[in-house]
Each structure stands twice: as C-alpha cells, then as structure tokens.
Amino acid sequence: MTAFFQPILVLLWKDILLEVRSKDLVISVGVFGLLVAVIFNFALNVSPQQITSLAPGILWVAYSFAGVLAMNRTFMREREQGGLEGLLLTPVSRDAIFLGKAMASFSFMLLVEVVLLPVFAVLLGFSILSWTLAVTIVLATLGFAVVGTLFSAIAVQTRSRELMLPVLFFPVILPVIIGAVQLTTVAVGGEISVGLNRWLPLLGIFDALFLVICPWVFSVVTEE
C-alpha cells in the first residue's frame, strides 16, 4: 500500500514545489476567477431577491473556466524537457502517476476556490458559512481535477491543446457542474426540485467512478 501512495506524495511534493517557485498557475487562475466574478457582478447587477437563483451559476461558471485554465497547465509543465517521458521511465505505476498529478491539480484548484469564495460572497451577497457549500466544493473540485487531469494528458499531445481540452472536458464533467450548482443553490438558501440527499451522493458516486475509470484510461493513453 505504501508503495502505491509514496510516488503520489512525491509527485504532489514536486508540483507544489514548482508552483511555490513559479506561482504562475495559482496567480493566473486566481486573477481570472476574480475577473469573472467582477464582470458578472456588474453585468447582471444581482439584486438580493435574485441571489439564490443567480449566485450558484455565477460561482460555478467562474470556477469551471478557471479550472480549465489550471488543467491546461497540468501536463504542459511535464511536457517541458520531456518531464512526462521521464516519469514514464520510472518503475511507478501509471495509476500512481495519474493520481499524483490529479491530487496536485485538486490542491491548486481548491486553494484558488477557497481564496475566491469570500470575494464572491461579498460581491453577490451570500453567506459562505455552510457545510453543504464546503462539501460541495470539495466533491465537485475532486471530480473536476480527476477528469481534467485525464483530458489534460490527452489534450497536451494535440496541436490545438488549449481548444481541445474544454471541448473534450465539459461534456464529461457536466453532471458534476449541474450537481454542484444545485447543491450550492441549497447552500445559499434556495430551493431545488431534487433534494440535497440525492445530489450529494450523486456527486460522491461520480467522483468514485472517475477515480476508477480515469487512471485506467490514463494508463492506456500513455502506453505509447
């Protein structure tokens, strides 16, 4: 068991160290998310009555687009000087390599989301003190990071990688985004047709499925 998790932690350590040095991912993604929040705030001029219907959508549009930016960088870094090749030359299982990269993406996205959340709360006028919101963000971000890491690994091999990633990624991640919007609506005091006890387990099931399927697909696509 340790043999499986050790390389995941090593990869996570390496990506965090690189991000601490360059800060390019967290800063660019954070600034982008902030801009989306400000633009939506002024474009829609959300009134207190509209908060429950508009705020969740705005929040997850910003998180989703910012997340795609982050995913674009996930394997670009490995592409420089053949870092991915170097990884594949080590006797580490492809699953562990994938999960290491996915955990790094998850950490960076979560950090950006946690920093942006109070800004959204102030601009749109909702409370962030909600367990539902916290669990939703963690579960949705996990699914986002796992699927995004897989498609980042696929897209980085293509010529128009920045375009390919969202085209491949959004159709697959759509259920997670819909679930996250629904749960956030509940968290900010709104009502939804399907209850909390449906969407929360559904997000968990999506994550579990992605955590099984994506490492396997990654192993297949990196075979050659």
Binding site: K14, G82, G86, P91
Partner: protein
C-alpha cells in the same frame, strides 16, 4: 544493482516497428553481452532513437521479443525500467528545481534508500557537485546534459541507453563521458549508445554498429555484438 543472472544484457529477436506505413525497424535481431558497449551510428531517420526508445519501454514494438537483463519488455516493463538508465534528447529535468531536487525527486520514484546522498554521489561523478543547489534553468546546455546523465546513473542501472550523449558537451565533458563509459563497462554493466560522431568513440572500448534501412552492420573488427540484421526497406 549488480548484474543480473540473465546470460545477456539485451536480447532482441525479430523486432519490427513501423510508424503508419513507414517501417523503421525490420526483423531486427540483437544480442548484447554484459560489460559491452554498443555504439550505433546511422543517418537521420534510420531508427536509432526508435530502437533505444523500444529498449527503454517508451515505445511498444509491433512485433518481436525483447528482454533486458532477462526481463521481458512486454510482461515485465517495470522490472525493465529498474534496469535501464536513459539519456535522451530531452533532459527529463524540471528547470525550476535545483539539480539536487530533480535527482532526489527521481530517486524517490525509484525508491532509493537515501536519495539525497546518492544524488550528490552521481552529481560528483559528472563533476557537478558544486552546482547541486542551483536551479537547472541557470545551467548551460552542456551542464544540463551532464545532470541528465547523472539522473540516468542515479538508480545504478544494469544497462545504459544513451541517445547522442555527447551533443552539447565540451571537450573535458566528453572526456569525462568516455571515462564514465569505460568505468561502467568495467563494472560489468552494458551500454547501448547512438552517435553521429564515430571518430569520437573510436578510443572507447566497444563494438560499432551501423543502422540504416532497418539493417545493422557491425564494424569488422568487433563482429560479436550484433548477430543478425533484417532486410532493407
């Protein structure tokens, strides 16, 4: 790692590899003994790099059987990866990490007992111990190639696969590479390397092969390294 009990370092039988409709390697047989250096030359596109990439598990062959130190390439790829050290066209290094951090990172992935100590030892072997704490991006191209060589030596592999390792190296660095290769083969480890500079490697102990149109021709003075070749394209 000490040389394994397998009788040969490399054994290739009936290897074939095509990219689309373009055959690169064709019915290639190759045997390399322990402690032997095989220098492969040949024109661009002759399949030198492809052969090394197959031996290092980076590319799958279409047909043929390949074993490294007795481990089958298809069935035991992770064991093969433990046995080979690779220097490719890319350095496989992260430019924002220091030399030491890069090597410790790879050392941990190879599950070395003391990656920090081993990293400093291999950096000393390539004459860069004084640059251990410097970021890779601050090093010259030649120095980065030497760190890449250190990365290949890190896990004490049985077989070194060097793809034009002399490119970008200055005179003293090439001399260091020659000494390292001589010492390595003296320890009973094997090396397959490609080069366009056959003059350079004339003084090094080993066999010279020429890869062209899917065929490997061996220097007449040392015919034992590559036993058989496939048909031309």
């Amino acid at each position: 790692m000490s040389p394994a009990k397998a009788d040969r370092a490399v054994r290739v039988q009936g290897l074939e590899k095509s990219f689309g409709d373009w055959p690169v390697l064709w019915d290639l047989d190759l045997t390399l003994d322990w402690g032997q250096l095989l220098v492969l030359a040949g024109p661009n596109g002759s399949g030198k790099t492809t052969l090394l990439r197959i031996l290092s598990t980076q590319v799958k062959p279409d047909f043929g059987a390949v074993s490294i130190a007795g481990f089958d390439l298809k069935r035991q790829p992770n064991q093969v990866r433990r046995c080979v050290g690779v220097v490719g066209h890319n350095t496989f290094l992260h430019s924002d990490l220091t030399c030491l951090e890069n090597l410790v990172f790879y050392g941990r992935l190879f599950r070395l007992q003391n990656p920090g100590k081993t990293a400093l030892e291999v950096l000393a072997q390539v004459g860069l111990e004084h640059r251990a704490g410097h970021r890779v991006r601050t090093l010259s191209n030649g120095m980065q190639r030497r760190v890449s060589l250190a990365r290949a030596l890190l896990h004490d592999p049985l077989l070194l696969l060097l793809d034009e390792p002399e490119v970008g190296l200055d005179g003293p660095s090439v001399a260091m590479l020659g000494e390292l290769i001589t010492r390595w083969t003296g320890l009973g480890r094997s090396i397959v390397m490609t080069t366009h500079n056959l003059e350079l490697v004339k003084s090094w102990p080993g066999s010279q092969g020429h890869l062209d149109n899917g065929k490997v021709r061996i220097g007449e003075d040392r015919p034992s390294a590559v036993e058989e070749t496939g048909p031309g394209l």
